[in-house]
Structure formats: C-alpha cells, structure tokens
Amino acid sequence: MTTTATTTATIGATTIELTDDGFFVDPSVWTEDMVTELARREGIEPVTDGHWNVIRFMRKEYVEKGAGPSVRALGKTSGFSVKELYQLFPKGPAKIAARVAGIPKPRGCI
C-alpha cells in the first residue's frame, strides 16, 4: 500500500506528472530543454555551468545506479564540495538538483 498522490505541471508545451513532493513520476519524459523552467520554479536563475554539471551528474548516477545520490555522496563524487553544492542549490542540493534533473527523490532523503 503506497500513498503516492501525484500532481501535474506544465513545462513549455509538455504536461508532466510529479509526486506530491515535486519529483518526476516518469524520469524518461525529462529533456534538457526543461531545465531552465524547472530551475526557475526552484528559485534558481540563471542556470550556470556549475548547475549543469551537477544536473548532468545526477542524471548519470540515476541511469547507472537507479537512484540519485544523497548530498554527502554528491559531495564525495561530483567534484563539488558540499559547501559549493549549497552555494549552487541553497535550498538543498540533492533534493533540488534531483527535481531539476527530473529524477526520483534521492535515497538519502528516505
């Protein structure tokens, strides 16, 4: 028995389904041209090269391992320290970057 209420959001011309805490239900519908709009909704403007590096790293980890990394794992593997990650995503790097990267809630945020 799961309680996965979902909601929808319109990004450009595409309607996407989100979990009640804002993560993509189907990560395969995500495309890179959604990033600017997804980031803006999280209060991130403009999207810098640093943001892109983290977002692409999150996607890669998700594809390879089936889950996005926690902020600690990200700090050890992404090339950015946890401090730098917080400068890029002040409201929580793992959570916000996962939302913008269109992947499920990272496992560290059980």
Partner: protein
Amino acid sequence: MILGGGTGGTLTANRLRKLYKPGEAEIVVVDQDDNHVYQPGLLFVPFGLTDADDIVRPRGRQLHAGISYHQSSIDHVDIDDDRVHLDDGTTLPYDVLVIATGATLVPDETEGLTGAGWMERVFTFYTAFIDLPIKCPVAPLEFCFLADWYFTERGIRDRVELVFVTPLDGAFTKPVASERLVGMLAEKGIELVTDFNTGEVDGAGGRLISYDGREVPFDLAVIVPLHGGAAYVGRSPGLGDELNFVPTDQRTLQSRAAANVFVIGDAADVPTSKAGSVTHFEGDTLVANIAHHLAGEALEAGFDGHANCFIETGFHKALLIDFNYETEPLTGHFPGRVGLPLLKESRLNHLGKLMFQWIYWNALLPGRDLPGLGSTMPAAGKTAAESTSSTPVPEGA
C-alpha cells in the same frame, strides 16, 4: 565467514548453526573487540536509567557452541579470491561471506565537530560510546523526550530550552508519523528546527551553522555525527560505495559485489532505518538465501523492509511504530487488531521497550523465533492513512 559480531552477525551465526550440523558447515565470526553493546540502551545511560556496564556483554559468549570466534580488526576483503585479510596477519578463506560490520560514526567529516568543546559541551549519545542517512531517525527524538522528562523531574524544565535540530523536513521521514511527532514536540515545549544540514559546529562560540548559513546557538549540544560503513570496506576493491556501505539487493540481501557475499544490518545500503529491528527481520531472508545459494537454488526476494521501533517519550510511556518499504508508520494496533497501540503514547509500550532488552539477549540473538513477531510487516490492526502529506507542493505544480 561472518564479519561482525553484533546484532546481525550473532543472530546469523546462531541461526546458521541450527540449520547446518557441525560437519556440514564451518562458521567463523570475526570482530575487532569483545564488547557487544545493546545499542538501544545507550539512550538511557545519560539519564541515569541504566549503567554502561549493564548493556555490554562479551561477543563470543553470545555465539552457540560450534561457532569459532576470531578477534581481530579487518584489513580488507578480496572478493575475487574469496579471502579476508585480517590485521593480525591471518588470511581466512570463505565460501560465503556475510558482512555485518554495521555503521561507524565519522565526526571528523563535519567541520569543527571534534574541535573546541568536543566531549565538554558537544557530545554524542552513541559514545558511552547530523545528517544523511540517519542511523535511526527516532533516537534523537527519544533523547529530546527523555531530556524533557528528566528536567521536569528535577524541577528545572522551565529553565531549560530544548531544541531538536534535524536535516529532515519534519520530525520523521514519513508523513503520518511526522505529523504525530511534530505535535508531541510542540506539546512538550520542544522547539523544532527542520531542513538544517549542519555544515559546521562552533564549539567555542556555541553555534551550529548549517550549509545554507543559518545558525542555532547552544550551551550544550548532543549530536548524531555523520555515519559511514566500516573502514575496511573502503579498502576492499569493488565491495563498497563512497560512504563505505555495501550496495545490496534490498529484497534478497545479496551484495551487488559478488554472488557469495551477503549483507545484514547497518552495513548495507538498503533504504531502511539503521535499526536493530530491521537487522532482526532481515535475518530470516538472509539465512534462507545463504542456504539457497549453497544449494545452487534461486534466491528469495523475501525482505519487505520491515522496521518496528519503540520510541521512549518519558514519564514511563512510549510510542510504537511499525512500517516497511511500502507502508509508512500508521495508527492502529500491533501485531493485530488487539495488541500494542501504534503511534500513540502508552505505558504498555514503555513496558514493551524495557522487556525487549531481555528478549534481545535471550531470544533474538540466539536465533529463537519470537511468538507473534514475524519478519514480514503485519497489516491487520493498522488504520489506513488519510492523506496527510506535510510536504509543500512546489509552486506551479
């Protein structure tokens, strides 16, 4: 070969010894010391409710006859050669390896935590003996509730400000329990600070500083440091992840590193609380799958993520939660329609928690079945969740 003589290693060894006659399998347990700590008891020590000596027993004595106990720290595991290399120079070959070496604290990973004030005004309750993943999300809550009770009993509660600071977005990881626990913190006058990812501890200045620049002042801080897996995991090529936990199939408990390596308890990277109850419930699946592996049979996807935790709330009461991978902690009764109340303070739950220490040493570790307590989560007696998500929906969604 079982690495670790704590909850998971001990109950696995004892159950395997029952399953296989001495001539059929040789069972060896390795640990670096001879102190088996009943970890739930650690919370009671600072409040004078138990002595540190009362919660520690020799590891080897918890193992059934016919199990070898080898005391040494571990250098590394060679998963390609099926050998464990110990720091005392011994090399032990294995057919099946069980990793049960738990989680360790890594306070050095948080800036300033072990600096000025460490063990003077900055403590951890795992040392008699802040972040993600939290070993057991309810332990720091219990500490707050017990502190509230302790200061009330001493008649000075009105002069003590208690603040619970958590990296989570609520008092717990799942919405129904979180809402209940947030209400209880408020009733007891304990302030809750959420989404606080501690980046630095300023012991001299008495401040916790989050990565996003917020500050919480303190006179005394009790901190759950970051956790990692055992250091030897990091020295064993191909075995662990970046935090030294072992990537593990969450249903079969087989490691992803090698078919003959299994993982139980805190050492695994499975998405559960790092709690003794989880380790206990994993035992059934783990032992069955070791037998399947040795017999060349397919493994069972048997473990459902079941966790069951008593939460001490002070004043001789406790709360009980019961959940698994799919079902969050709900209200109702455990294990059936008649039983211990769930998500509700009661004296019965407190007695349950106290009684559990006896059960731990005398039934759980020896590998006896506990009547009425199966490894899969019981659904009878639970009240379905009303949708009470406390997580805000993002703007525009």
